[in-house]
Amino acid sequence: MVAKLVRFLGSIQLAVPVLGAIASILIWATFYESKVGSLAVQQQIYKSPWFGALMFLLAVNLGVSTLSRYPWRGARKVGFALTHLGLIVLIAGSAAVIHLGVEGLLLVRTDQPANHLVRVEGELLEVMDDQGQVQQAAVMVKPGQVISPHQFAGLTLLDYSDNSVETVDYRAGDATDSPAVRLVLSSDRMGQTFDQWLSPTAETVDLGPAQLELRQAENQTDLQQLLADPAQTQAHPSGTLLIKLGDANTSLAIDDLRRHDAVINDIQVHLLNVWPDFRLDDQNQPITASQDWQNPALEIEVTQADLQERWFVFAQAGPILAGDESLLDLDWEYQVPPPPASDYFRVVVANQNLYYAARSSKSFTSGPLVMDQMIQPGWADFKITLADWLPHGKRIQERLTTPPGMEGVPALQVASADGQQWLTWGESTLIADGSHPKMAAFGPRMLALPFRVGLDDFIVERNEGSDSVAMWTSQIRIEDLQGESAQRRSVWMNHPTWYQGWKIAQASWNPGDLNQSTLQVKREPLWVTALTWNGALLTVLGIGVMFYGPTLFKKRATALERPNEPIAAKPAPMPLAPQDG
């Protein structure tokens, strides 16, 4: 029985169907690839276990057939053995190339320091459970489909969109849900109409010059404050100055500093000027452009014994010393609350009733808000209408594929015990998942190299008298991670460089930005390369010996006695028009 099986495994009756099956699958795969792209085909076919098994079966067939014909006497049999053994080595080597090689793209720029993070094919899903345990998985995706894996860290991976936007909708929910309103905004002059949901749990909606928000008032005072005209309320606070003296921090209110100087240890701090909106005028003199707190700055004089220094401290840009070098060990920080939005439309919920406050640079209105009431907040010709009000609104998040021409982001849809959720590319998201909340992050899959690569120069050579590119060359600098040593190399098309077993090659470039170059970084174990090359050599040698060895070694007589002898035809003239035809 075993002998029979072994004979079948090494038989030509198995070889032909296997060859035919492989050829048919490959034909189908190439057509499928032109529809779905190479990433999907690589994962679903070429790297799949069943295709691997088929190739393994071929290798077994080759191996058993070769061994069962031992001893290999004569050039033909030697050639046969070499070819078949070579093919086994070649199949093993090629499989190792595909499965064991590490490969990625490294972006380097002349105006940035050396980089050691390589972008590897596929994305990365990182999940941290409530115990703080982090799990990572490579995710292969294409638009509309997750190729692999389908399950990871208790999550089911459902869908992927490469260019999507998030939309939020609200439906009537239960008593635990917050209120939600839907406003319709329209402008005839701009030819625009759009609607917007607001909820107190969601962020303020920023429309550029104006903001929309929904607030809940706990009591009457709260309501009055929320509906009050901000112009009537007290002036904007001037903020605080934080002084760092050695390790000690001291906080000083500007309003106090205006009244009297402060003394910290033996240093006297004197406030010279406050500019809510700092600018330089035509004579390069500091002035304030407005009373809006857009760019607040202070001028301060500090004195210690006979040392005196003058500082400008900006809330946004930090401190600048007026002079050459500071002799005092000082650092400053100016903290001012941001200016309120000048234009806003605020909906306030109080006691199951709705109110609104609308502010523009010109006017302020407020009052009760009812369904289908139309309000003109004074922003150009915009009109705002209340279209929906849910005292308890349940938030429904959806992901839509972005229409052509609009910018979206990739997103991955996952399902947990609590339902489905989209993970936006490059952001971490909290997943409720029953009693085991998780943090999940979906982003690029990167690999850290044991060295850094920097771009010294990127040279684009053009064909003479033309804009077409003749060659592009990256002059790179390879540094060790400690930054102690650096080697300079050049890589260009078909001329990679090797460093510590890694191959660095020119991959692509950006015609619009010649400070940038993309390098392919690749490593495969040396034995894998040796395997494929030796297999290749054996195969070619074997075919040559098998077909032409008998003739070369003058063993034609032996060859002619073979039963299936199609090889060496006896040279004989053959009339095309035979007399018997």
Partner: protein
């Protein structure tokens, strides 16, 4: 005696090559042809520019005027360049895609249209749509792609007619510096030097306007202008021998001569087979060798002109396969004297070279600088010729397969001729298998250097492997006894479809993958599919006839046995 006949055939080929008839040998080139131009990334003679421009716009190298007179490519180009006709209204621009013609409201049967007709059509709207799509990186429809090709033709027309900027004036010191037009010579040279060549050019122009299309009369003023241009920058201006070599290559058109010689050799060999008493076998061999030599000369010249390996694009691969078929067949014929190889090879070589000659829009013969990925590369010069030689072997096997199947059609029970042809066929398939395996492996080694991996299932790689499997499976099937000689012949014909797919289909049908430098905008797919379909029908018919004959002989042998038993 045979040697004499062989030499006679070779001499016949040589005579045919140099005979100064208008068909075989156009007039010798003058300065009109060899004025150097820096265009599309290299320096070339004006003759090449003329041929490339006319072929690109018109789709053929000759233009028939409304009067019935025919202009050749240089005459047409000079007329365009020096604006001696109303090119706005000459129906000169090729539009060969019927759906586009229908969309533009143009007569479907007409192939060429005037500039004004096209500009006044709705082409602008289609182009606008195509450009918007290109900006948004959306896929284009076939109509839009064809419209963009047509836009290129219109732009080339605009650039050519009355051009003042044709870069004829060499850069003073930089070998790769940008050349300028005659009118802009002051940008590179002092006014008095610029004025000299401008005057000489004006004289040339006046002579042309006076003499019409007789370019030979321009030889003298053109030579004076060329000398002045060369004197401006003797170090930069290409050597006269280089320019003359390329102009000679264009005029001599070795690949065009080769197919004629193969064709004649085929007729001679066929005659010698059909009428054995003529015994023209060796004469045919000599003529065939003449074809191989002239094609080899063509490759030698083309390699010198382009400064790179022989096979770098689809056009060159088609010509190279034609050459491979002829050379392999000749080698086997010399070895075996089987009298069948050349009969199978000659029609295939003729088809390859004719295709390369007659489809300039699909198989572009112009010599252009290589894309960076193919440049500076040792592996390109061995991987591609090896793999295309294997295609040539399989093509030859396909030819022999056809001859054998024809024999089976005549004599379904087989016969000595069919058996002999089948054996020859197997030998050629073996060469193909060895070359294809070697070629795939060389490609893997190149890919190891260039893309960092030996094997990556790129569609071109995969199809080369599929083609190999399509031959390996029947070869093993033959060893298993599942296929006989007839089956091997069928396999050699059908297997070639896989080669066609690997060679042509991946680039034009699938259009994906890393080998994109060979890709182009389709064309002739329907024609090729039609030919393949018809051929498959022939194979099917032969199989049916063969099987019914086998069935009949089997049943007759059974009845003979039964009769004997009775």
């Amino acid at each position: 005696m045979n040697q004499l006949k062989f030499l006679w055939g070779l001499c016949l080929a040589c005579v045919l090559m140099v005979t100064p008839s208008s068909q075989w040998q156009p007039p010798a080139q003058t300065a009109v042809d060899t004025l150097a131009v820096q265009l599309d990334g290299r320096k070339k003679p004006l003759d090449t520019v003329a041929r490339e421009t006319v072929t690109t716009i018109h789709g053929a190298s000759r233009y028939q005027l409304a009067s019935g007179d025919v202009l050749d490519a240089p005459q047409t180009y000079w007329s365009l360049w020096l604006n001696s006709r109303d090119w706005n209204d000459e129906p000169f621009i090729l539009v060969n895609y019927r759906p586009l013609k229908a969309q533009l409201g143009l007569p479907l049967e007409q192939k060429h249209f005037s500039f004004s007709t096209l500009i006044n059509s709705d082409l602008g709207l289609i182009l606008q749509q195509a450009h918007t799509k290109q900006l948004q990186e959306q896929p284009l429809t076939r109509d839009e792609r064809e419209a963009l090709t047509l836009e290129d033709r219109l732009n080339l027309m605009l650039d050519t007619v009355g051009s003042q900027t044709l870069p004829l004036v060499p850069h003073p010191m930089d070998i790769k510096g940008t050349w300028v037009g005659i009118a802009d010579a002051e940008q590179l040279y002092p006014p008095e030097m610029a004025a000299k060549i401008q005057t000489q050019f004006e004289q040339l122009n006046q002579q042309y306007q006076a003499q019409g299309d007789d370019l030979e009369s321009l030889a003298e003023p053109a030579a004076l202008l060329q000398q002045s241009l060369a004197d401006l920058s003797p170090e930069i201006y290409p050597a006269m021998a280089t320019l003359q070599r390329e102009a000679f290559f264009n005029h001599f058109h070795p690949f065009g001569k080769a197919w004629k010689l193969y064709g004649i050799a085929f007729l001679v060999l066929l005659t010698s087979q059909l009428v054995p008493s003529f015994n023209l076998y060796w004469t045919g061999m000599g003529t065939f060798l003449g074809g191989i030599l002239v094609q080899a000369l063509g490759f030698g010249l083309r390699m010198q002109i382009a400064g790179r390996p022989p096979v770098t694009n689809m056009y060159e691969s088609v010509v190279w396969v034609g050459f491979g078929i002829a050379a392999l067949a000749f080698y086997f014929e010399l070895q075996t004297r089987a009298r069948s190889y050349l009969l199978a090879a000659a029609p295939l070589a003729v088809v390859c070279l004719l295709l390369a000659d007659s489809l300039p829009a699909v198989l572009d013969p112009s010599i252009e600088p290589l894309v960076p990925v193919l440049r500076d590369n040792f592996w390109l010069s061995i991987h591609v010729p090896t793999i295309t030689l294997s295609y040539a072997s399989f093509a030859l096997a396909m030819g022999l397969g056809h001859l054998a199947l024809m024999q089976y059609w005549r004599q379904p029970q087989g016969g000595s001729t069919a058996t002999a042809l089948s054996r020859l066929n197997t030998r050629v398939i073996q060469v193909g298998i060895l070359l294809l395996t070697t070629g795939i492996i060389l490609g893997g080694i190149w890919a190891h250097f260039s893309w960092g991996r030996f094997w990556g299932w790129d569609p071109k790689e995969t199809w080369a492997l599929i083609a190999l499997l399509c031959y390996l499976a029947p070869v093993h099937g033959r060893l298993a006894g599942w296929l006989g000689q007839f089956g091997m012949n069928v396999a050699s014909v059908l297997g070639f479809n896989a080669v066609l797919m690997a060679w042509y289909g991946v680039n034009f049908v699938l259009g994906t993958g890393l080998h994109s430098y060979g890709f182009g905008t389709g064309g002739s797919a329907v024609l090729i599919a039609g030919l393949v379909g018809m051929d498959s029908l022939f194979v099917l018919a032969t199989i049916l006839r063969y099987r019914s004959q086998q069935h009949r002989s089997a049943s007759s042998s059974v009845s003979e046995v039964q009769t004997a038993d009775a």
